[in-house]
Amino acid sequence: MFGHTAQDKQQQLAPLPAPAEATPPATANRLAIVLFSGTIDKLMSASIMATGAAAMGMDVEIFLTNWGALAFRRGDYTSNTRVSADYADYRGTLLEQMAAKKVTSWMENLEGAKEIGNVHITACSHTMTLFDLQLSDLEPIVDEVIGVAAFIEGARDSAMTLYI
């Protein structure tokens, strides 16, 4: 008769592919930041997170993409006063208060972070290509240009990842 046993069936099926490489546990003492934004409110937020982490002995990996990469064009930070459009009505107050309270700028924060800790800043090659930019067009604080795979590989086991 037909007489296929379960075992026969198993042998007829193609073997299962090897399991995909397991994602490593996210425990590395590192903060990874994908910095997409280029408005000073968000650049400030990213810089404070990076600086705090660096001060606490964490490695910091910052991946600049889109407006975040443009914000690091040489000299741009000296004249960038863009604020998120949704909060355009707060722009004046924000700028006034930052000056009145002598708050360190986001670029100063990042420079300080690099001085006290292990901070690595990279720029997204897709963005760089779109806007015809090379590493030399960016502030020297940016270490290199990399693609998405390199970023993901370098950041996937980070204890903390932020998208700003």
């Binding site: 404070i48 606490m56 360190t104 924060n109 006290i116």
Partner: protein, 79 residues
């Protein structure tokens, strides 16, 4: 009244706004030897918990925090 400590280094972070107090603290600590004591003053209210968190994370010892007239003084020992 704070216990009298044998302070090896004093740092003024008054007027500094987050994240500067802990950046100043981290920088000052680099030059210390194990066992030395640092006193740091700050006015940033966030510094209260920030300094404690910094000490916890870096494995250094926060000996005491004194608050007087809006000024926070932290005594830390390098481990």
């Amino acid at each position: 009244m704070a216990t009298t400590y044998q302070v090896d280094k004093t740092v003024d972070a008054k007027g500094q706004v987050c994240p500067m107090p802990i950046v100043t603290l981290a920088k000052a600590f680099r030059d210390l030897s194990a066992g030395q004591i640092l006193a740091i003053t700050a006015t940033d209210p966030g510094a209260k918990k920030d300094v404690a968190a910094w000490a916890e994370k870096t494995g250094n010892s926060l000996l005491e925090m004194v608050e007087a007239n809006g000024v926070l003084t932290f005594y830390l020992k390098k481990v």
